[in-house]
Protein backbone atom coordinates (compact mmCIF):
# COMPACT_ATOMS: atom_id res chain seq x y z
CA UNK A 1 0.00 0.00 0.00
CA UNK A 2 1.13 3.53 -0.64
CA UNK A 3 1.96 6.09 1.99
CA UNK A 4 -0.78 8.65 2.41
CA UNK A 5 1.73 11.22 3.72
CA UNK A 6 3.09 11.54 0.23
CA UNK A 7 -0.32 12.40 -1.11
CA UNK A 8 -2.62 10.55 -3.43
CA UNK A 9 -2.11 9.37 -6.96
CA UNK A 10 0.53 6.71 -6.33
CA UNK A 11 -1.83 3.91 -5.49
CA UNK A 12 -0.56 0.75 -7.19
CA UNK A 13 -4.04 -0.70 -7.71
CA UNK A 14 -5.21 2.45 -9.42
CA UNK A 15 -8.75 2.66 -8.08
CA UNK A 16 -9.38 5.65 -10.29
CA UNK A 17 -9.16 3.48 -13.41
CA UNK A 18 -12.26 1.69 -12.24
CA UNK A 19 -13.78 4.91 -10.96
CA UNK A 20 -14.02 3.60 -7.38
CA UNK A 21 -15.96 6.27 -5.53
CA UNK A 22 -15.44 7.53 -2.00
CA UNK A 23 -18.75 5.93 -1.02
CA UNK A 24 -17.48 2.58 -2.29
CA UNK A 25 -14.31 2.82 -0.19
CA UNK A 26 -16.56 3.55 2.79
CA UNK A 27 -18.69 0.49 2.03
CA UNK A 28 -15.58 -1.70 1.73
CA UNK A 29 -14.26 -0.39 5.05
CA UNK A 30 -17.62 -1.17 6.66
CA UNK A 31 -17.65 -4.67 5.14
CA UNK A 32 -14.23 -5.38 6.67
CA UNK A 33 -15.72 -4.71 10.13
CA UNK A 34 -17.61 -8.00 9.73
CA UNK A 35 -14.56 -9.97 8.56
CA UNK A 36 -13.97 -13.12 10.56
CA UNK A 37 -17.41 -12.93 12.15
CA UNK A 38 -19.21 -16.21 12.37
CA UNK A 39 -22.87 -16.59 13.13
CA UNK A 40 -23.59 -13.18 14.65
CA UNK A 41 -26.38 -10.70 13.97
CA UNK A 42 -25.05 -7.83 11.89
CA UNK A 43 -26.85 -4.57 12.63
CA UNK A 44 -25.86 -1.72 10.36
CA UNK A 45 -27.22 1.85 10.46
CA UNK A 46 -26.66 4.05 7.43
CA UNK A 47 -26.16 3.22 3.77
CA UNK A 48 -22.44 2.35 3.67
CA UNK A 49 -22.80 0.00 6.69
CA UNK A 50 -25.91 -1.60 5.16
CA UNK A 51 -23.96 -2.29 1.96
CA UNK A 52 -20.96 -3.41 3.98
CA UNK A 53 -22.87 -6.01 6.00
CA UNK A 54 -24.49 -7.42 2.84
CA UNK A 55 -21.16 -7.46 1.03
CA UNK A 56 -19.45 -9.27 3.91
CA UNK A 57 -22.21 -11.88 3.98
CA UNK A 58 -22.03 -12.28 0.19
CA UNK A 59 -18.27 -12.88 0.28
CA UNK A 60 -16.00 -13.52 3.26
CA UNK A 61 -18.48 -13.82 6.18
CA UNK A 62 -21.24 -16.06 4.80
CA UNK A 63 -22.61 -17.06 8.19
CA UNK A 64 -23.60 -13.49 9.15
CA UNK A 65 -27.22 -13.04 10.18
CA UNK A 66 -29.01 -10.05 8.62
CA UNK A 67 -32.27 -8.38 9.63
CA UNK A 68 -35.01 -7.01 7.39
CA UNK A 69 -35.00 -3.69 9.24
CA UNK A 70 -38.28 -4.66 10.82
CA UNK A 71 -38.95 -7.73 12.91
CA UNK A 72 -37.34 -10.59 11.02
CA UNK A 73 -34.03 -12.18 10.08
CA UNK A 74 -33.59 -12.66 6.34
CA UNK A 75 -31.82 -15.21 4.18
CA UNK A 76 -29.27 -14.09 1.62
CA UNK A 77 -28.29 -10.44 1.18
CA UNK A 78 -31.27 -8.51 -0.19
CA UNK A 79 -30.47 -5.34 -2.15
CA UNK A 80 -31.01 -1.97 -0.48
CA UNK A 81 -34.49 -0.50 -0.79
CA UNK A 82 -35.99 -3.00 -3.16
CA UNK A 83 -39.71 -2.70 -2.55
CA UNK A 84 -41.68 -5.48 -4.09
CA UNK A 85 -38.83 -7.94 -3.81
CA UNK A 86 -39.96 -10.76 -1.58
CA UNK A 87 -37.48 -11.46 1.17
CA UNK A 88 -36.92 -14.97 2.44
CA UNK A 89 -37.39 -14.85 6.20
CA UNK A 90 -35.35 -17.06 8.52
CA UNK A 91 -36.63 -16.15 11.94
CA UNK A 92 -38.77 -13.80 14.00
CA UNK A 93 -36.81 -11.00 15.65
CA UNK A 94 -39.14 -8.54 17.41
CA UNK A 95 -37.51 -5.90 19.61
CA UNK A 96 -37.96 -7.90 22.78
CA UNK A 97 -35.84 -10.69 21.29
CA UNK A 98 -33.25 -8.21 20.01
CA UNK A 99 -32.28 -7.69 23.66
CA UNK A 100 -31.67 -11.43 24.04
CA UNK A 101 -29.21 -11.15 21.17
CA UNK A 102 -27.58 -7.93 22.40
CA UNK A 103 -27.12 -9.19 25.93
CA UNK A 104 -25.83 -12.59 24.75
CA UNK A 105 -23.17 -10.79 22.72
CA UNK A 106 -24.02 -12.53 19.44
CA UNK A 107 -24.13 -9.25 17.55
CA UNK A 108 -21.82 -6.91 15.65
CA UNK A 109 -23.05 -3.37 15.23
CA UNK A 110 -22.23 -0.27 13.22
CA UNK A 111 -24.03 2.72 14.75
CA UNK A 112 -23.96 6.36 13.74
CA UNK A 113 -22.86 9.22 16.00
CA UNK A 114 -23.71 12.90 16.19
CA UNK A 115 -20.51 13.32 18.18
CA UNK A 116 -17.59 10.99 18.84
CA UNK A 117 -14.48 11.70 20.87
CA UNK A 118 -10.87 10.61 21.22
CA UNK A 119 -11.71 7.85 23.70
CA UNK A 120 -14.53 6.43 21.59
CA UNK A 121 -17.45 7.94 23.49
CA UNK A 122 -20.46 8.53 21.25
CA UNK A 123 -23.37 10.95 21.61
CA UNK A 124 -26.84 10.68 20.02
CA UNK A 125 -28.72 12.16 22.99
CA UNK A 126 -28.33 15.93 23.18
CA UNK A 127 -25.95 18.77 22.40
CA UNK A 128 -25.10 21.19 25.19
CA UNK A 129 -26.29 21.17 28.78
CA UNK A 130 -28.48 18.18 29.66
CA UNK A 131 -31.11 20.22 31.53
CA UNK A 132 -31.93 22.49 28.59
CA UNK A 133 -29.90 21.32 25.62
CA UNK A 134 -29.14 23.54 22.63
CA UNK A 135 -30.23 20.55 20.53
CA UNK A 136 -32.24 17.57 21.69
CA UNK A 137 -31.31 14.62 19.50
CA UNK A 138 -33.02 11.22 19.21
CA UNK A 139 -32.05 9.98 22.69
CA UNK A 140 -29.48 7.47 23.94
CA UNK A 141 -31.49 4.63 22.37
CA UNK A 142 -29.67 1.31 22.84
CA UNK A 143 -26.16 2.77 22.72
CA UNK A 144 -25.28 2.37 26.43
CA UNK A 145 -26.25 -1.30 26.47
CA UNK A 146 -24.86 -2.12 23.05
CA UNK A 147 -21.38 -0.84 23.79
CA UNK A 148 -20.89 -2.81 26.99
CA UNK A 149 -22.31 -6.03 25.55
CA UNK A 150 -20.76 -6.56 22.11
CA UNK A 151 -18.35 -5.13 19.58
CA UNK A 152 -19.49 -1.75 18.28
CA UNK A 153 -18.18 0.38 15.43
CA UNK A 154 -19.28 3.78 14.17
CA UNK A 155 -20.10 5.25 10.79
CA UNK A 156 -19.85 9.02 10.36
CA UNK A 157 -20.64 10.11 6.79
CA UNK A 158 -19.40 13.69 7.28
CA UNK A 159 -16.11 13.90 9.13
CA UNK A 160 -15.84 17.34 10.73
CA UNK A 161 -14.77 19.15 13.88
CA UNK A 162 -18.47 19.18 14.81
CA UNK A 163 -18.68 15.39 14.83
CA UNK A 164 -15.13 14.52 15.96
CA UNK A 165 -14.94 16.46 19.25
CA UNK A 166 -12.60 16.53 22.24
CA UNK A 167 -15.40 15.43 24.62
CA UNK A 168 -18.92 14.44 23.67
CA UNK A 169 -21.70 16.28 25.51
CA UNK A 170 -23.72 13.21 26.60
CA UNK A 171 -21.96 9.82 26.68
CA UNK A 172 -24.47 7.49 25.02
CA UNK A 173 -22.15 4.82 23.58
CA UNK A 174 -19.38 4.08 26.09
CA UNK A 175 -15.73 4.64 25.14
CA UNK A 176 -12.61 3.01 26.56
CA UNK A 177 -11.74 5.31 29.47
CA UNK A 178 -15.33 5.49 30.66
CA UNK A 179 -15.69 1.70 30.52
CA UNK A 180 -12.43 1.27 32.43
CA UNK A 181 -13.48 3.65 35.18
CA UNK A 182 -16.85 1.91 35.47
CA UNK A 183 -15.06 -1.35 36.27
CA UNK A 184 -14.86 -4.98 35.13
CA UNK A 185 -18.58 -5.41 34.45
CA UNK A 186 -18.37 -2.61 31.91
CA UNK A 187 -15.11 -3.72 30.27
CA UNK A 188 -15.86 -7.46 30.17
CA UNK A 189 -17.55 -7.44 26.75
CA UNK A 190 -16.66 -3.90 25.65
CA UNK A 191 -14.97 -3.22 22.34
CA UNK A 192 -15.04 -0.15 20.11
CA UNK A 193 -13.65 -1.74 16.99
CA UNK A 194 -13.57 0.81 14.17
CA UNK A 195 -14.75 4.26 13.20
CA UNK A 196 -15.35 4.73 9.48
CA UNK A 197 -15.86 8.23 8.10
CA UNK A 198 -15.93 9.69 4.61
CA UNK A 199 -12.22 10.48 5.10
CA UNK A 200 -10.78 7.30 6.56
CA UNK A 201 -10.80 4.41 8.97
CA UNK A 202 -9.86 4.68 12.64
CA UNK A 203 -9.25 2.27 15.50
CA UNK A 204 -8.34 2.44 19.20
CA UNK A 205 -5.16 0.39 19.07
CA UNK A 206 -2.93 3.29 20.11
CA UNK A 207 -1.53 3.26 23.69
CA UNK A 208 -4.30 4.25 26.11
CA UNK A 209 -6.98 3.18 23.63
CA UNK A 210 -7.25 6.55 21.94
CA UNK A 211 -8.39 7.06 18.38
CA UNK A 212 -5.75 6.28 15.76
CA UNK A 213 -5.73 6.74 12.03
CA UNK A 214 -5.82 3.24 10.53
CA UNK A 215 -6.13 4.22 6.88
CA UNK A 216 -7.19 7.16 4.77
CA UNK A 217 -9.37 6.77 1.72
CA UNK A 218 -7.58 7.35 -1.61
CA UNK A 219 -7.62 11.06 -2.38
CA UNK A 220 -7.46 12.03 1.31
CA UNK A 221 -4.29 13.06 3.17
CA UNK A 222 -3.57 12.75 6.86
CA UNK A 223 -3.54 16.55 7.00
CA UNK A 224 -7.07 16.60 5.60
CA UNK A 225 -8.12 14.29 8.40
CA UNK A 226 -6.33 16.33 11.07
CA UNK A 227 -7.97 19.53 9.87
CA UNK A 228 -11.42 17.95 10.12
CA UNK A 229 -10.88 16.48 13.60
CA UNK A 230 -11.45 18.40 16.84
CA UNK A 231 -8.83 16.52 18.86
CA UNK A 232 -5.32 15.12 18.45
CA UNK A 233 -5.40 11.83 16.60
CA UNK A 234 -2.75 9.17 17.05
CA UNK A 235 -0.97 8.93 13.69
CA UNK A 236 1.45 6.09 12.93
CA UNK A 237 4.62 6.78 10.90
CA UNK A 238 3.09 5.25 7.82
CA UNK A 239 -0.61 5.53 7.17
CA UNK A 240 -1.88 3.16 4.50
CA UNK A 241 -4.72 3.87 2.15
CA UNK A 242 -8.03 2.11 2.61
CA UNK A 243 -7.90 -1.10 0.62
CA UNK A 244 -9.21 -1.41 -2.90
CA UNK A 245 -12.37 -3.39 -3.56
CA UNK A 246 -11.81 -6.56 -5.57
CA UNK A 247 -13.49 -6.69 -8.99
CA UNK A 248 -16.06 -9.10 -7.53
CA UNK A 249 -16.79 -6.77 -4.61
CA UNK A 250 -17.17 -3.77 -6.87
CA UNK A 251 -19.54 -5.67 -9.12
CA UNK A 252 -21.61 -6.81 -6.12
CA UNK A 253 -21.89 -3.26 -4.78
CA UNK A 254 -22.81 -1.70 -8.12
CA UNK A 255 -24.97 -4.32 -9.74
CA UNK A 256 -26.44 -6.40 -6.94
CA UNK A 257 -26.53 -4.72 -3.53
CA UNK A 258 -27.02 -1.03 -4.40
CA UNK A 259 -27.99 -0.82 -8.07
CA UNK A 260 -29.87 2.44 -7.45
CA UNK A 261 -26.73 4.15 -6.13
CA UNK A 262 -28.10 5.17 -2.73
CA UNK A 263 -24.50 5.25 -1.50
CA UNK A 264 -23.77 8.33 -3.62
CA UNK A 265 -26.51 10.26 -1.83
CA UNK A 266 -24.86 9.60 1.51
CA UNK A 267 -21.27 10.32 0.44
CA UNK A 268 -20.77 12.47 -2.62
CA UNK A 269 -18.47 11.12 -5.29
Amino acid sequence: MSDAHSGSGDNPVAGSDRGVTRAEYCAIACADIFRGNGEVMASAFGTAPAIGARLAKSTFSPDLVLTDGDAALVAGAPPLESPGTAMVLESHMPYRKVFDVVWSGRRNLIMMASQIDREGNQNISAIGDWGSPTAQLIGVRGAPGNTVNHSTSYWIPRHSTRSFVEHVDVVSGVGYARAASAGPSATRFHEIHRVVSDLGVFDFEAPGHVMRVRSVHPGVTVDDVRAATGFELAVPDRVPQTREPSPEELQLIREVLDPRGLRDREVKA
Binding site: S43, T67, D68, G69, D70, A71, A72, P78, E81, S82, P83, T85, M87, L89, H92, M93, P94, Y95, R96, V98, F99, V102, W103, S125, A126, W130, G131, S132, P133, T134, A135, Q136, L137, I138, G139, V140, R141, G142, A143, P144, G145, T147, V148, N149, V170, V171, S172, G173, V174, R178, A179, S181, A182, G183, P184, S185, A186, R188, F189, H190
Partner: protein, 307 residues
Protein backbone atom coordinates in the same frame (compact mmCIF):
# COMPACT_ATOMS: atom_id res chain seq x y z
CA UNK B 1 -67.25 -12.82 31.35
CA UNK B 2 -67.10 -9.18 32.21
CA UNK B 3 -67.86 -6.83 29.34
CA UNK B 4 -64.97 -4.37 29.32
CA UNK B 5 -66.13 -2.25 26.41
CA UNK B 6 -66.07 1.46 27.08
CA UNK B 7 -65.92 4.75 25.19
CA UNK B 8 -62.91 6.97 24.65
CA UNK B 9 -64.39 9.53 27.04
CA UNK B 10 -64.94 6.88 29.71
CA UNK B 11 -61.34 5.76 29.33
CA UNK B 12 -59.98 9.29 29.73
CA UNK B 13 -62.40 9.75 32.66
CA UNK B 14 -60.46 7.08 34.53
CA UNK B 15 -57.29 9.14 34.36
CA UNK B 16 -56.24 11.97 36.69
CA UNK B 17 -53.82 14.87 36.56
CA UNK B 18 -50.41 13.99 37.96
CA UNK B 19 -50.64 10.34 36.93
CA UNK B 20 -47.81 8.29 35.45
CA UNK B 21 -49.12 6.95 32.16
CA UNK B 22 -47.47 4.32 29.96
CA UNK B 23 -48.11 4.45 26.23
CA UNK B 24 -47.53 1.33 24.13
CA UNK B 25 -46.13 1.04 20.61
CA UNK B 26 -42.67 2.08 19.46
CA UNK B 27 -41.59 5.35 17.79
CA UNK B 28 -44.20 6.13 15.17
CA UNK B 29 -45.69 2.63 15.19
CA UNK B 30 -48.96 1.33 16.64
CA UNK B 31 -49.41 4.21 19.06
CA UNK B 32 -52.82 4.62 20.76
CA UNK B 33 -53.22 8.00 19.08
CA UNK B 34 -56.99 8.24 19.57
CA UNK B 35 -56.33 8.25 23.32
CA UNK B 36 -53.49 10.76 22.89
CA UNK B 37 -55.88 13.02 20.96
CA UNK B 38 -58.50 12.60 23.71
CA UNK B 39 -55.88 13.52 26.31
CA UNK B 40 -55.10 16.68 24.34
CA UNK B 41 -58.78 17.68 24.54
CA UNK B 42 -59.02 16.89 28.26
CA UNK B 43 -58.10 19.13 31.18
CA UNK B 44 -55.58 16.60 32.51
CA UNK B 45 -52.12 17.98 33.21
CA UNK B 46 -48.81 17.30 35.02
CA UNK B 47 -48.56 13.85 33.49
CA UNK B 48 -45.51 11.65 33.63
CA UNK B 49 -45.41 9.93 30.24
CA UNK B 50 -43.53 6.63 29.92
CA UNK B 51 -42.98 5.67 26.30
CA UNK B 52 -40.76 4.27 23.57
CA UNK B 53 -41.49 7.73 22.31
CA UNK B 54 -43.04 8.92 19.09
CA UNK B 55 -45.59 11.59 18.22
CA UNK B 56 -47.51 10.64 21.39
CA UNK B 57 -44.80 12.31 23.45
CA UNK B 58 -44.45 15.22 21.01
CA UNK B 59 -48.16 16.04 20.93
CA UNK B 60 -48.59 15.81 24.70
CA UNK B 61 -45.56 18.09 25.17
CA UNK B 62 -46.95 20.58 22.63
CA UNK B 63 -50.18 20.76 24.61
CA UNK B 64 -48.35 21.33 27.89
CA UNK B 65 -49.65 18.09 29.40
CA UNK B 66 -46.29 16.65 30.33
CA UNK B 67 -44.42 17.30 33.56
CA UNK B 68 -41.93 14.50 33.01
CA UNK B 69 -41.05 12.19 30.13
CA UNK B 70 -39.46 8.77 30.69
CA UNK B 71 -38.04 7.38 27.42
CA UNK B 72 -35.03 5.88 25.65
CA UNK B 73 -35.72 7.90 22.48
CA UNK B 74 -38.39 10.04 20.89
CA UNK B 75 -38.55 9.56 17.12
CA UNK B 76 -40.94 9.56 14.19
CA UNK B 77 -38.91 6.75 12.50
CA UNK B 78 -38.97 8.10 8.93
CA UNK B 79 -38.28 11.55 10.40
CA UNK B 80 -35.63 11.18 13.12
CA UNK B 81 -36.73 13.78 15.65
CA UNK B 82 -40.15 14.96 16.89
CA UNK B 83 -40.15 18.77 16.67
CA UNK B 84 -42.42 19.37 19.67
CA UNK B 85 -40.45 17.15 22.00
CA UNK B 86 -37.26 18.79 20.79
CA UNK B 87 -38.69 22.25 21.47
CA UNK B 88 -39.95 21.27 24.92
CA UNK B 89 -36.60 19.81 25.93
CA UNK B 90 -34.63 22.75 24.59
CA UNK B 91 -36.87 25.14 26.52
CA UNK B 92 -36.34 23.07 29.67
CA UNK B 93 -40.13 22.72 29.80
CA UNK B 94 -40.21 19.02 30.67
CA UNK B 95 -38.31 16.95 33.17
CA UNK B 96 -36.59 14.05 31.41
CA UNK B 97 -35.59 10.55 32.45
CA UNK B 98 -33.67 9.27 29.44
CA UNK B 99 -32.47 5.67 29.73
CA UNK B 100 -31.16 2.88 27.50
CA UNK B 101 -33.82 0.97 25.52
CA UNK B 102 -33.01 -2.24 27.35
CA UNK B 103 -33.05 -0.57 30.76
CA UNK B 104 -36.51 0.74 29.88
CA UNK B 105 -37.64 -2.80 29.01
CA UNK B 106 -36.29 -4.14 32.29
CA UNK B 107 -38.01 -1.33 34.21
CA UNK B 108 -41.36 -2.41 32.75
CA UNK B 109 -40.55 -6.08 33.34
CA UNK B 110 -39.60 -5.43 36.97
CA UNK B 111 -42.87 -3.55 37.51
CA UNK B 112 -44.83 -6.37 35.81
CA UNK B 113 -43.20 -8.90 38.12
CA UNK B 114 -43.67 -6.73 41.23
CA UNK B 115 -39.92 -6.50 41.72
CA UNK B 116 -38.11 -3.34 42.90
CA UNK B 117 -35.45 -3.52 40.16
CA UNK B 118 -33.67 -5.78 37.69
CA UNK B 119 -29.90 -5.85 37.18
CA UNK B 120 -28.29 -5.07 33.85
CA UNK B 121 -24.97 -4.20 32.29
CA UNK B 122 -26.70 -1.51 30.20
CA UNK B 123 -25.96 1.98 31.44
CA UNK B 124 -22.57 1.23 33.02
CA UNK B 125 -19.99 3.84 32.03
CA UNK B 126 -22.54 5.99 30.19
CA UNK B 127 -24.02 9.37 31.08
CA UNK B 128 -27.37 7.67 31.73
CA UNK B 129 -26.10 7.38 35.31
CA UNK B 130 -25.02 11.06 35.38
CA UNK B 131 -28.26 12.47 34.01
CA UNK B 132 -30.36 10.19 36.25
CA UNK B 133 -28.65 10.59 39.62
CA UNK B 134 -31.35 8.51 41.33
CA UNK B 135 -30.14 5.34 39.55
CA UNK B 136 -28.19 2.94 41.75
CA UNK B 137 -25.75 0.10 41.23
CA UNK B 138 -26.11 -3.36 42.76
CA UNK B 139 -23.38 -5.88 43.51
CA UNK B 140 -23.95 -9.53 42.68
CA UNK B 141 -24.15 -11.59 45.90
CA UNK B 142 -22.43 -14.49 44.13
CA UNK B 143 -18.75 -15.23 43.55
CA UNK B 144 -18.49 -13.09 40.43
CA UNK B 145 -19.18 -9.95 42.47
CA UNK B 146 -20.23 -8.06 39.33
CA UNK B 147 -21.40 -4.49 39.85
CA UNK B 148 -24.43 -3.79 37.67
CA UNK B 149 -27.07 -1.14 37.16
CA UNK B 150 -30.20 -1.73 39.26
CA UNK B 151 -32.89 -0.58 36.87
CA UNK B 152 -35.84 0.45 39.05
CA UNK B 153 -39.36 -0.77 38.29
CA UNK B 154 -41.26 1.65 36.05
CA UNK B 155 -44.55 1.44 37.94
CA UNK B 156 -47.45 3.00 36.03
CA UNK B 157 -50.75 4.40 37.28
CA UNK B 158 -52.26 3.62 33.89
CA UNK B 159 -51.25 2.16 30.55
CA UNK B 160 -52.80 2.40 27.10
CA UNK B 161 -51.95 0.25 24.08
CA UNK B 162 -53.48 -0.05 20.60
CA UNK B 163 -54.06 -3.47 19.05
CA UNK B 164 -55.44 -4.68 15.73
CA UNK B 165 -58.30 -6.74 17.14
CA UNK B 166 -59.86 -7.24 20.56
CA UNK B 167 -62.94 -8.82 22.05
CA UNK B 168 -65.40 -7.39 24.55
CA UNK B 169 -63.71 -9.28 27.39
CA UNK B 170 -60.45 -7.45 26.75
CA UNK B 171 -58.28 -10.01 24.97
CA UNK B 172 -56.14 -8.32 22.32
CA UNK B 173 -54.65 -9.49 19.06
CA UNK B 174 -51.58 -7.90 17.46
CA UNK B 175 -51.40 -8.81 13.77
CA UNK B 176 -48.26 -6.87 12.86
CA UNK B 177 -44.78 -8.39 13.00
CA UNK B 178 -43.74 -6.86 16.33
CA UNK B 179 -45.81 -6.84 19.53
CA UNK B 180 -43.27 -4.36 20.97
CA UNK B 181 -43.58 -4.10 24.78
CA UNK B 182 -47.34 -3.59 25.03
CA UNK B 183 -47.81 -6.59 27.27
CA UNK B 184 -45.30 -5.19 29.74
CA UNK B 185 -46.83 -1.70 29.74
CA UNK B 186 -50.13 -3.30 30.75
CA UNK B 187 -48.43 -5.55 33.27
CA UNK B 188 -46.72 -2.58 34.88
CA UNK B 189 -49.91 -0.55 35.34
CA UNK B 190 -52.74 -0.29 37.88
CA UNK B 191 -55.37 0.69 35.26
CA UNK B 192 -54.98 -1.06 31.91
CA UNK B 193 -56.62 -0.08 28.64
CA UNK B 194 -56.48 -1.37 25.08
CA UNK B 195 -57.89 0.43 22.09
CA UNK B 196 -58.46 -1.59 18.95
CA UNK B 197 -59.03 -1.18 15.25
CA UNK B 198 -61.97 -3.54 15.48
CA UNK B 199 -63.87 -5.39 18.17
CA UNK B 200 -64.53 -8.95 17.09
CA UNK B 201 -66.25 -11.96 18.58
CA UNK B 202 -63.80 -14.16 20.45
CA UNK B 203 -64.56 -16.92 17.94
CA UNK B 204 -63.27 -14.64 15.17
CA UNK B 205 -59.69 -14.39 16.53
CA UNK B 206 -58.46 -17.63 15.01
CA UNK B 207 -59.59 -16.53 11.54
CA UNK B 208 -57.63 -13.30 11.92
CA UNK B 209 -54.25 -14.73 12.82
CA UNK B 210 -52.22 -17.52 14.35
CA UNK B 211 -52.18 -18.18 18.09
CA UNK B 212 -48.99 -16.12 18.59
CA UNK B 213 -50.88 -12.99 17.54
CA UNK B 214 -53.15 -13.35 20.61
CA UNK B 215 -50.51 -11.79 22.82
CA UNK B 216 -52.64 -9.59 25.11
CA UNK B 217 -54.66 -11.74 27.48
CA UNK B 218 -57.65 -10.35 29.33
CA UNK B 219 -55.66 -10.83 32.53
CA UNK B 220 -53.92 -7.62 31.45
CA UNK B 221 -56.84 -5.32 30.60
CA UNK B 222 -59.56 -3.43 32.48
CA UNK B 223 -61.13 -1.67 29.53
CA UNK B 224 -61.29 -1.91 25.76
CA UNK B 225 -62.34 0.77 23.28
CA UNK B 226 -62.99 0.34 19.58
CA UNK B 227 -61.18 3.16 17.76
CA UNK B 228 -60.96 2.48 14.01
CA UNK B 229 -57.93 4.34 12.69
CA UNK B 230 -56.96 4.83 16.32
CA UNK B 231 -53.23 4.61 15.64
CA UNK B 232 -53.28 7.15 12.80
CA UNK B 233 -50.90 8.67 11.74
CA UNK B 234 -48.55 6.04 13.11
CA UNK B 235 -48.21 2.63 11.45
CA UNK B 236 -50.70 -0.09 12.33
CA UNK B 237 -49.78 -2.90 9.98
CA UNK B 238 -51.33 -4.90 8.45
CA UNK B 239 -54.38 -2.63 8.77
CA UNK B 240 -52.55 0.46 7.47
CA UNK B 241 -49.02 1.80 7.11
CA UNK B 242 -47.77 5.03 8.63
CA UNK B 243 -49.42 8.03 6.95
CA UNK B 244 -46.14 9.58 5.83
CA UNK B 245 -47.77 12.57 4.15
CA UNK B 246 -49.72 13.39 7.29
CA UNK B 247 -46.65 12.93 9.48
CA UNK B 248 -44.70 15.27 7.23
CA UNK B 249 -47.50 17.83 7.50
CA UNK B 250 -47.41 17.45 11.31
CA UNK B 251 -43.68 18.20 11.35
CA UNK B 252 -43.98 21.11 8.95
CA UNK B 253 -46.85 22.62 10.92
CA UNK B 254 -44.74 22.48 14.06
CA UNK B 255 -42.23 24.74 12.36
CA UNK B 256 -44.22 27.95 12.80
CA UNK B 257 -46.89 29.14 15.25
CA UNK B 258 -49.49 29.96 12.61
CA UNK B 259 -49.03 26.64 10.89
CA UNK B 260 -49.39 24.82 14.18
CA UNK B 261 -52.49 26.78 15.16
CA UNK B 262 -54.10 25.81 11.87
CA UNK B 263 -53.10 22.16 12.26
CA UNK B 264 -54.41 22.10 15.80
CA UNK B 265 -57.69 23.72 14.87
CA UNK B 266 -58.26 21.32 12.02
CA UNK B 267 -57.10 18.04 13.54
CA UNK B 268 -56.81 18.35 17.30
CA UNK B 269 -59.58 20.67 18.47
CA UNK B 270 -62.13 18.27 17.02
CA UNK B 271 -63.41 14.96 18.36
CA UNK B 272 -62.15 11.59 17.14
CA UNK B 273 -65.06 11.09 14.77
CA UNK B 274 -64.45 14.41 13.07
CA UNK B 275 -60.71 13.70 12.91
CA UNK B 276 -61.29 10.39 11.17
CA UNK B 277 -63.88 11.89 8.86
CA UNK B 278 -61.34 14.42 7.62
CA UNK B 279 -58.89 11.72 6.65
CA UNK B 280 -61.25 10.33 4.04
CA UNK B 281 -62.47 6.89 3.40
CA UNK B 282 -59.24 5.53 1.97
CA UNK B 283 -57.28 5.82 5.17
CA UNK B 284 -57.53 4.16 8.51
CA UNK B 285 -60.09 1.58 7.51
CA UNK B 286 -59.18 -1.87 8.72
CA UNK B 287 -58.66 -4.39 5.98
CA UNK B 288 -61.18 -7.17 5.70
CA UNK B 289 -60.21 -10.23 7.66
CA UNK B 290 -57.90 -12.59 5.83
CA UNK B 291 -57.03 -15.91 7.34
CA UNK B 292 -53.39 -16.04 8.38
CA UNK B 293 -52.77 -12.41 7.53
CA UNK B 294 -51.39 -11.74 10.95
CA UNK B 295 -48.71 -14.37 11.18
CA UNK B 296 -46.12 -11.70 10.51
CA UNK B 297 -44.58 -13.90 7.87
CA UNK B 298 -45.31 -11.41 5.14
CA UNK B 299 -43.51 -8.54 6.82
CA UNK B 300 -41.89 -6.48 4.14
CA UNK B 301 -38.96 -4.12 4.21
CA UNK B 302 -41.10 -1.45 5.81
CA UNK B 303 -40.60 1.29 8.30
CA UNK B 304 -37.09 2.42 7.82
CA UNK B 305 -35.55 0.07 10.22
CA UNK B 306 -34.29 0.73 13.70
CA UNK B 307 -32.72 -2.69 13.20
Amino acid sequence: MADKRMTLDELVGELRSGMTIGIGGWGSRRKPMAVVRALLRSDLRDLTVVSYGGPDVGLLCAAGKVRKAVYPFVTLDSIPIDPHFKAARQAGAVEAMEVDEGMFYLGLLAASHRLPFLPTRAGLGSDVLRINPSLRLVTSPYEDGEELVAMPALRLDAAVVHVNRADAAGSGQILGPDPFFDELFLGAADRRFATTERLVATEQFSAEGAIQTLCISRLLTDGVVETPGGAHFTACVPDYPRDEAFQKAYVEAAGDPDGWAAFRQRYLDVDEQAYQAQLGASRAVPSSPVAGAGAGASAGPSSGGAR
